[in-house]
Amino acid sequence: MTSNGNDKGKGTATGGTAVKDAPEDGAPLVELRAAGKSYGNVRALHGVDLTVRPGQVTCVLGDNGAGKSTLIKIVSGLHQHTEGEFLVDGEAVRFSTPREALDRGIATVYQDLATVPLMPVWRNFFLGSELTRGPWPLRRLDIERMKKTADEELRAMGIVLDDLEQPIGTLSGGQRQCVAIARAVHFGARVLILDEPTAALGVKQSGVVLKYIAAARDRGLGVIFITHNPHHAYMVGDHFSVLRLGTLELSAARSEITVEELTNHMAGGAELTALKHELAQVRGVDVAELPGEEDVQAPAAASAEASSGASSEKTS
């Protein structure tokens, strides 16, 4: 497949030319250069390039086991890369704890471990960065201030909750993600990593979360949006990287790719074509409607809105 090498080159060179919010000259906040990770002799990730700029949403797509989680674990400081380079603000780094990543402004919102379900919303909001007052032996939580701040921050993101005392587990999945995003924004995150925030959500809830991703981008944050839903990615993304078996299969700016191409890359691209051939040999399987090679290699011409609408009808 030829598009692999080409797209990768294009992506890093001209990232986000056609996107309205992305500043052309925004220096990369986070950059991976040919980064990789091996667990013993298992190579989970190899030769991955990724650039995150302020005010941009970089989408990382891939099937299960493609290496998405390994990638975010490296960036968020849970694991360390074993090859290549990892730069924050142009400086090579190697984090040993999530705390170090947080200190550099890299916050991660995990899909299912974003919150402690039985704790109230405001305690979750400030967990790990509690506000205190008073001298040491009597140093205590500044509950009033924390509740007020949490409420303000949530409202600023457009989230209104009845009762900040309710356990966060009683909120809907989408609301919980939003609280976690608002929390990350409040604590000075410059780079927000979202690990499949829409995976377990319904259509409406996903919409809510995508709205807050856009809101975070508009506040000038660099966002890494991990997903395996190309439609969600295409709605907010400025740049798309598709991982496949631990390597980068595609890296393209929004202007260079349509949602169909993205879908095909996600679905397996070349392998799908091969599968189509095999299926064609079996009588009774109609392969005419299945996407073919021409779709994968189609030039990025159609307007984003139009193709996104068309494709979602076609593939759903």
Binding site: S76, L78, P98, R99, L102, T108, Y110, L113, A114, T115, V116, P117, L118, M119, P120, R123, F126, L127, G128, S129, E130, T132, R139, R140, L141, I143, E144, K147, K148, D151, R155, V160, L161, D162, D163, L164, E165, Q166, P167, T170, R183
Partner: protein, 359 residues
């Protein structure tokens, strides 16, 4: 700072400055009663009142103030240990060595003071260091191995049980520590750890007051400090807690050391009120601590509970075990009665919590 407002974080009343408008109207406001019932210790409190009224009715001697002092004494010795065990449970871990750790601490102080013929305070301080070290070892082993705390502390339980006996025999040639009641500092230490305070002609053991003070401290720690927030977080969802920067290892090791601190205090009480310590004592008490914490509304799975609940749990346990005697029921049935009463208390607790969470 409102100490009287001893509540669990999951169910505090809304602060006055919570938003008045802008509610999306989908979640109905929980009524004040419902919200009150949702606190972890309220079910236990209702059960405690029930048990008290019951024995008050059937056992005339139970009504005297001095009987209450007796009940409170047993509850306090158990309750002082239940507090750190409950905090540890909220933090998502168990300590099966808590029962014998008490004996270890008392034996350490007694044997060291006696063998070296030093002031008993030296033994008291060394016992404190030893108890904290046992707690730190448990926590460290848990963090290092990643094994469940049930397994790690079962190991230390057996180690301590064996060491209690073997070390005592090596030094004393017996299975109990030698009496240190005639040694320097004993009377002073006794007045600190095992004295009595007379209120209105009734003698209350000092442990009762320590118990209540420690419970107030634990409540403050749990609800009003950073560390308390971390305890709930590591018990509720350890991975989330680590991801947002909570020092999980520190929190867990500190909680285990807290159990060590409790074991030391109770151990000193045992030593200075009974002069000698039997090396086989304490076995099985670890489960009583856990039971009292659970009756008091702490979740076995962690992440939920309070410090007031275990106080009530220990009080229920004390009332039931003494009340059966005050009521002069057939002693052969003692354990069976105890089991039935505890089960009933737990059921009332469960029922109350169901009422609270039902919409």
């Amino acid at each position: 700072m409102t100490m009287s407002q001893a509540t669990a974080p999951a169910a505090e009343p809304a602060s006055p400055d919570s938003p008045a408008g802008g509610k999306d109207g989908r979640t109905a406001e929980r009524s004040v009663v419902r919200r009150l019932l949702g606190r972890p210790e309220v079910g236990a409190l209702i059960a405690a009142v029930g048990v008290y009224v019951f024995f008050f009715a059937v056992a005339p001697p139970f009504r005297e103030a001095s009987s209450l002092a007796t009940v409170l004494y047993q509850a306090s010795v158990m309750g002082i240990m239940t507090l750190p065990v409950a905090l540890l449970m909220i933090g998502g871990e168990f300590d099966l060595s808590a029962g014998v750790a008490v004996t270890t601490s008392a034996l350490t102080a007694a044997i060291l003071s006696y063998q070296l013929t030093v002031n008993v305070w030296t033994g008291v301080i060394v016992a404190l260091i030893a108890s904290l070290a046992v707690g730190a070892f448990n926590g460290w082993l848990l963090i290092k191995t990643g094994l469940p705390s049930f397994l790690v502390t079962l190991g230390s339980f057996l180690i301590l049980q064996g060491a209690n006996l073997a070390v005592t025999k090596i030094f004393t040639g017996n299975v109990a520590s030698d009496s240190i009641s005639d040694m320097d500092g004993f009377d002073q230490a006794k007045s600190v750890f095992a004295s009595e305070i007379s209120i209105g002609g009734v003698n209350f053991k000092i442990t009762i007051f320590y118990w209540l003070v420690f419970a107030a401290l634990a409540t403050w720690l749990l609800l009003r400090t950073k560390f308390g927030n971390w305890i709930f977080a590591v018990g509720g969802n350890q991975d989330s807690a680590r991801a947002v920067g909570v020092p999980v290892k520190f929190t867990k090791i500190a909680l285990f050391m807290g159990v060590g601190l409790g074991a030391w205090f109770v151990g000193m009480h045992l030593l200075f009120s009974f002069n000698t310590v039997q090396s086989g004592e304490g076995v099985g008490n670890e489960f009583l601590y856990i039971i009292a914490a659970v009756i008091g509304g702490c979740l076995l799975t962690g992440g939920y509970g309070s410090a007031v609940g275990p106080v009530i749990g220990a009080f229920i346990f004390g009332m039931v075990s003494q009340g059966i005697v005050y009521a002069n029921w057939n002693p052969d049935w003692f354990k069976a009665f105890l089991g039935v009463m505890l089960l009933l208390a737990a059921l009332v607790n469960l029922w109350v919590r169901r009422q609270a969470t039902r919409r």
